[in-house]
Symmetry: C2
Subunit: 522 residues, 2 copies
Amino acid sequence: MRWVGNTNELNAGYAADGYARTHGIAALITTFGVGELSALAAVGGSYAEHVGVVHIVGVPAKTSADAHAVLHHTLGNGDFDVFAHMSRDISADQAILSSINSAPAEIDRLLRTCWVRAQPVYLGFPTNLVEAQVPASLLDTPLDLSLAPNDPEVEDYVVNEILQLINNATSPAILVDACTSRHRVVEEVVSLAKLTQIPVYVTPMGKSSFDEQNPLFAGVYVGELSNPKVKERAEKTDLVISVGAILSDFNTGSFSYHIDRVKFIELHSNYVKIKLASFPGVQMKPVFAKLLPKLSQRPLRDGPLCPVVAPPFIDINGPILHEYLWPRLGGFLRPGDHVVTETGTSSFGINQTRFASDVHAVTQVLWGSIGYSVGACLGVALAAAENSPKDRVILFVGDGSLQLTVTEISTMIRHKLKPILFILNNDGYTIERLIHGPEAVYNDIQMWKYTSILDTFNAEKSRTYKISTAGELDALLKDEQFNSADVIQLVELVIPKLDAPSTLKKQAELTAQYNAGKKSSS
Amino acid sequence: MRWVGNTNELNAGYAADGYARTHGIAALITTFGVGELSALAAVGGSYAEHVGVVHIVGVPAKTSADAHAVLHHTLGNGDFDVFAHMSRDISADQAILSSINSAPAEIDRLLRTCWVRAQPVYLGFPTNLVEAQVPASLLDTPLDLSLAPNDPEVEDYVVNEILQLINNATSPAILVDACTSRHRVVEEVVSLAKLTQIPVYVTPMGKSSFDEQNPLFAGVYVGELSNPKVKERAEKTDLVISVGAILSDFNTGSFSYHIDRVKFIELHSNYVKIKLASFPGVQMKPVFAKLLPKLSQRPLRDGPLCPVVAPPFIDINGPILHEYLWPRLGGFLRPGDHVVTETGTSSFGINQTRFASDVHAVTQVLWGSIGYSVGACLGVALAAAENSPKDRVILFVGDGSLQLTVTEISTMIRHKLKPILFILNNDGYTIERLIHGPEAVYNDIQMWKYTSILDTFNAEKSRTYKISTAGELDALLKDEQFNSADVIQLVELVIPKLDAPSTLKKQAELTAQYNAGKKSSS
């Protein structure tokens, strides 16, 4: 464990989230009141998107709380419970330690919950217990991180139903979503696909949870926003095995799945749904464990399933357009890369990038907190550096989003991390321009000198690039020194103001209709 | 009204707070979920310190909420009420508009509450009502912003008790605190002092609410952390008329008032306390209105009361020390100046600065959110520019605090504001070093090139200075062009790592004891 020291609490929360997405769990430490409230938007994101973060809050000594003292960092009304209360709906569990005797058991309970539920927990740690000692022998019993068993009768029933549906299906599909990785069934899905030879689609939130170089990979399915060939094949299916789904608007092309609900098996961390029947409490991981041995190997399929989308021919002296950028990026990525994309333009664009094997994607499709990616990138970079010095971390963030959290680049420099930071400079909040008010002043931002950022934050070794044409981009992506990622690098990509991935343009139209209440959600 | 457009929501909340402290009320607009949660630490501060901010939250259309749709910016669990719930304990009132028929009355109610209670209110505004129209005739009835009357019998009783105590006192004192300005009794206090010739002390939170050039001004009272002469005189009193007190640790020298509780009259916005008797619901403003005409003019005192603290003699080639900086600043300030000081070193130091008349101070002593001052400075600068182009806005912020909210300087530049930004570069979190861990790595920060900040944020016209000696500081504070504040200016003050105002050093010792639970709060 090491202390990071972020530039602010929100960024720290995003960094903890990014680290936990990569290594399974992380800790965030803030002070009471002011500090913890600043981090809530990050903790809320971890809760929504199933990321295990232990939020440790340094709270006043119990004597102060009992006296209702008017301390700094409080509301001045003597209420010391209000802040934990504000976190309750975004915590899987909470504890405020009050006695050193009960503290170890409470901490163990929180850690278990955080890991098993893959959601944040809240631990209030009073100043007067910081240096208290507990018996080392407590460490002799390892933490129990196993799942509670499913009801065996219900589990058997569910497994048999699924088995029957798979055996009877003629054109089944597997749809990999966010909780596949979060609830640790990535390997189970690989085994399921390998045995049954069923094509595997991923949602935007599931992207990188299945190897895109595997011949069974069939593309990114986002309802109406899918590649037409992917959509056509996916929607012809007679059975969808949906794994770890979070069916949010941006994850489904605004709820535009054209597949009948009765064709779905939904596997979740805490329930299973088969057609229209729900099985509450049945956890998917043990279901996989019982199901997989009952499946027999089907004959291997011929050739890859996913349509190839090559970068279009472009004018090398012309501007950098999204239709070129994202497909071109596929050829740049290599195994071991971690790609962090900001909500908005980049998180839509990345769905048009075909990943190499062993590429790890981090983005925030459901919670969609602007600025998330910069903090998350720090956390991913810390985790990646622990994996292997060869792992590259690559960030895509728009100029508008960067303004919220730019200071976390300073923390990357401080820890001598070496991410590649692509800043998409399109002069404002392009995703918002597309939804509402393309010329509205509230979508404008102050134009910064992005190429001065690394120097202002005092990077000792760094490289900065400003790129305006497709040809320059192509050359940079081929450049050996750039590819080596031996120092922190910042690339300002100058992009036309209203250019966007075609899927984002469609999504923006759907969202604008939705916001105006002109289209219902059902 | 104008749209500002901040770099992030927390900064926007701080800016709204700064604007409201200067002009009485402000509005903060965020999106639902992600956006509003990012602002909670700022809204919490406005709640704690009695600042009226209308927090307008753009929420999904009612059709979406009713359908429990899994929209982006939600927790994905269909719960659309959770975020308003998280704001409940830091809102004086809340409304989520649901019908255009009831909307005007609900908005009026919130505005009234925000103004009268001088605390934040929460207004959920659904997307489908944004363009709905209401009758213009509703504007014919002006908002009722008057206080509800006190119970006349209790009020009379209270006024007579106060009158009697004042008439019988031999060495009374007035103690001006935070809510004097927040609940708009600044003029009443001036009249009370003028009529009775009672010396007026201010607390750190009350500083600048009474003219420090008025001969009746007797100094800053902070218990044990006061100037010894101020402390001696203040504690000899036989009656304290305390106005708008918020008796927090940092506002009272860790609760070290050596004055008997039975010598206090406490006047508050929503109760009065005389000796040990409370009068709930009795508001101080109408009490003043009834009390003042009953007081008769006492003979004028001779000469000023406040001890003069001149800057010490210093080595002009030596480092900038706090014992020099803050007293020296007094000679630099002029009427119309607004001084914003960051929690920590600066908010302690400023108590050693004697203000010119009509100087306005903004700081956050109770809530003490690190980074607050930079956002607040933007809000103060927007308000000051509306007052007069001659009003100067002067920020004092440490390097550690600056890292949290530095991007708001970009918004100052965008709006062509011209504050003077003093950055106290003492290489880390000095206040924290004094409390705990002077050499601990968690009190270190990345050293930035502070002199590059204005250029990186693309300021067209600006001046930047880096100052390391007392002599250079003195020369700069005398420089005519610098004093003219005709462009945005940034001054990096290089200060020894562990130097601090003597009062902060004492406070840090008290806080360290307190945190360890070694000293009780009573």
